[in-house]
């Protein structure tokens, strides 16, 4: 008898557990549709402003979209575990209506799995006025998978964070050298740094340093060895398989063995790298253009000048062909652009499109980048200038709420867009570096391939990671061993899927772009 009661109790418990009690009830909207948008909460909203779900910006958004019959709620998702959290939310049907991510491959996978909204059929001149006005045809094409418009993304053009080489101007001056513009003069400069020790740091001197060389050997060093223009089918091939890869790495290896390239490739969190720079021991470094200035890295140039008052840095691009146009940053292994997408769910697709369209409007884009005119910025000499409240109210918008565009648009034609008026007191230096780092238009980029790439999905993560592990061994190989180490690593890369990835990439390139 008692046992039966027990069993019944357990069964009841299970029944309750398995019983469907849906959560996340959305109030049945009568005339107003609620659309949810993803945001990345990085903890940057100042307490005085509210929090990520309610502040002046969320109020502003709701005020503006009310005219469209919409209400917007922001759902924070933590960015740093996005790869695990976002798919889980999607699988449970709990993801926001409008999402965005940097990981295009993931989104393509979602689209192929049939989980995303295809906005194509819904878009016309009326419903997608802003979207069609902002995105060019190649941007729209880049967001398509098998012809369906599943993503909205802009092609990454210039943003000043591309990389170049910073050199200690005071060292050059004391040696009477000019800023190197090609490989030979660069190498000669490095040798001079080593033997003549202009910084007075003795054995601690690091003539040239590349942090996390995994990212810069192909972006920066390899262009020096590429003789043909960077167009065509070969742009789709992964960089380790380029014939010039060996030349680039051999150069780095030779520099390393001569003591010209620093042993900092193992420095995971850049502590030693920053330390050597800030103590004035580094002669040249190849990294992103804003690295010495940005506060997120610790305002390193400022700190360098505190330790070594006479230190001065100058930008250079010694790896680019002197006679050709700007080939710096030949291609990036990941194009960091925000791709917006929408999972299929109960929210009406027309409402989602309406909101997405509003996101592409000048009203929204300008607000996210500059805030409210008069309060956060003003126009001076036809240039927008940030005011004091910009930091308090606007600086945390774009990194957390995303933006379809990194460039503001103004409906006043006489307004010139500034090229990053940041980093006082180094504005001029930064501005001079900017055009060098800028890539111009995207023909130099990796071609977009938005067809299904099963081989790439299957192998890329693993072979890239193994290649990244092999790189330090290649660069630091003993003089006689370089060939063996490099060849073995490339052979391994090919064997573990690199060949399949290359073949697929070439075939798809031909299919999409012709010969």
């Amino acid at each position: 008898m008692k046992r039966r009661v027990l069993i019944l109790a357990l069964a009841a418990l299970l029944a309750v557990a398995m019983g469907a009690s849906a959560t996340g009830t959305r109030e049945a909207a009568s005339t107003v549709t609620t659309v949810t948008q993803l945001c990345w909460d990085r903890g940057q909203v100042p307490s005085a402003e509210g929090d990520i779900t309610k502040n002046w910006y969320t109020d502003f958004v709701n005020q503006k979209v009310a005219a469209l019959g919409l209400k917007v709620e922001f759902k924070p998702v933590q960015r740093n575990k996005e790869a695990e959290i976002l798919p889980t939310l999607l699988a449970a049907g709990n993801a926001p209506d409008i999402c965005y991510s940097y990981d295009k491959n993931l989104i393509v996978q979602f689209a192929l799995d049939g989980g995303l909204v295809d906005f194509g059929p819904l878009m016309d001149q009326k419903s997608a006025r802003n979207l069609l006005g902002y995105y060019r045809s190649e941007d729209l094409k880049a967001g398509q998978v098998n012809g369906g418009q599943f993503m909205f993304r802009y092609m990454n053009t210039n943003d000043g964070t591309l990389s170049l080489t910073w050199i200690r101007q005071d060292w050059l001056d004391s040696l009477g050298l000019a800023v190197p513009t090609d490989l030979d003069s660069f190498t000669a400069m490095l040798r001079a740094f080593k033997t003549k020790d202009p910084g007075g740091k003795g054995a601690k001197t690091v003539p040239w340093a590349v942090k996390k060389s995994t990212n810069y050997w192909d972006n920066n060093v390899m262009p020096a060895f590429v003789k043909d223009k960077p167009v065509g089918e070969k742009m789709a091939v992964p960089s380790p398989l380029w014939p010039e890869a060996k030349d680039a790495l051999r150069y780095m290896n030779q520099c390393y063995n001569e003591g010209l390239l620093g042993d900092l490739i193992l420095d995971k969190d850049d502590t030693l790298f920053k330390q050597k720079f800030v103590l004035g021991e580094m002669g040249a470094l190849t990294d992103v253009a804003h690295w010495p200035f940005h506060s997120a890295y610790g305002e390193l140039y400022k700190n360098l000048q505190k330790n070594v008052p006479q230190a001065k840095i100058v930008p250079a691009t010694p790896f680019r062909k002197a006679s050709e146009e700007n080939w710096v940053a030949l291609f990036r292994s990941e194009i960091y652009t925000m791709s917006f997408f929408s999972p299929k769910n109960k929210t009406p697709e027309a409402a989602k499109l309406a909101y997405m369209d509003w996101l592409a409007s000048p009203e929204c884009v300008n607000a996210v980048l500059y805030g409210v005119e008069g309060r956060d910025f003003e126009i001076k000499d036809n240039m927008p200038v940030k005011l004091e409240s910009w930091n308090k109210k606007v600086s945390w918008l774009q990194p957390q709420y995303g933006n379809v565009s990194m460039r503001a648009f103004w409906d006043r034609p006489e307004i010139k867009l500034p090229t990053e008026m940041d980093f006082p007191p180094y504005q001029q230096l930064w501005l001079s570096a900017n055009p060098m780092a800028r890539r111009g238009d995207h023909p130099w980029a990796r071609p977009e391939i938005n067809a299904p790439t099963p081989m790439a999905v299957k192998y890329t993560a693993q072979i890239t990671s193994e290649w990244n592990n092999a790189l330090p061994k290649i660069v630091t190989a003993a003089p006689g061993k370089f060939n063996a180490v490099f060849d073995a690593a490339v052979a391994e890369y090919r064997r573990n899927g690199g060949d399949a990835v290359e073949k697929e990439a070439r075939e798809l390139y031909r299919k999409i772009y012709g010969k």
Binding site: S21, R42, K81, Y102, L272, S295
Partner: protein, 299 residues
Amino acid sequence: MRTAGRSRAVGGPQVLIRCLLILSSAVFLFPFLHTVAQSFSDPRFILSGSVFFLPRGPTLDAYRALLKDLSMLRSLAFTVELTVLGVAVSLVLSTLAAFPLSKPGLKGRNLLLGAIVFTMYFSGGLIPTYILVKRLGFLDSLWALILPGAVNTFNMVVMMTYFRGIPKELEEAVEVEGARPFLVLLRVVLPLSTATLATMVIFYGVGYWNTFFSGLLYIQDPKKYTLQVRLYQTLDSVDTMINGQLLGASDREVGSSAKLVAENLKSAMVVLTTAPIIVLYPFMQRYFVKGATVGALKG
């Protein structure tokens, strides 16, 4: 408070032992002192690598920034609530499981224990658990952070082992007078188990205090971010390093974020998260000694 009858090393050997322990304490302590020193130092000196065990360019900036932040304090309060509630739930459940399972004569015990240990190895993973929590209506609540992991099998097994070790005679003495198992548990076993209970409070407590991933997954209300989640948001640059390693440089992302992440901020956070535990533990420690009354009862 010496335990009667136990002769410990004295004289020469005691000196040696103490020396060894002092040495090891230094090894344990210095890195922590280093972190504390960094938390009070000017970022410039940290970047130059010149901070060791004493702060340089002393500043309270990092702590001021952390403690002035309302959202940080809110996360602190929420995490305290989570920890207290969670430890209570986990302790009760674990004890209620460990005690019966420590009885060798209980029918079905091996089967049950096997089924429980099985779950240490096989689990459905994130998606099914998330869907379950969603269906039960706990999303975005404190309970989502407590219930799915309320019983840690490892901890429960340790408790069970401890209960097994309690001499049967002590329990039988009370059972003979007609006491039911509940009473035996409350009157005899628990008072003798303060050591293991204290251990469990610490283990579970630290676990709940450091709740991170479930906080990321189940919570979307900023008022309910746990401390670790909140800290990680500010430490984004560190994780950028971690992610950067896998996904390629996200320096471009940094370009768009104007937030200052001071080096001393990272250290200050480590200190803040650890401080409560360090403060609390000595209070728990005395319970380790209390358990030594086993012998007294026996006599």
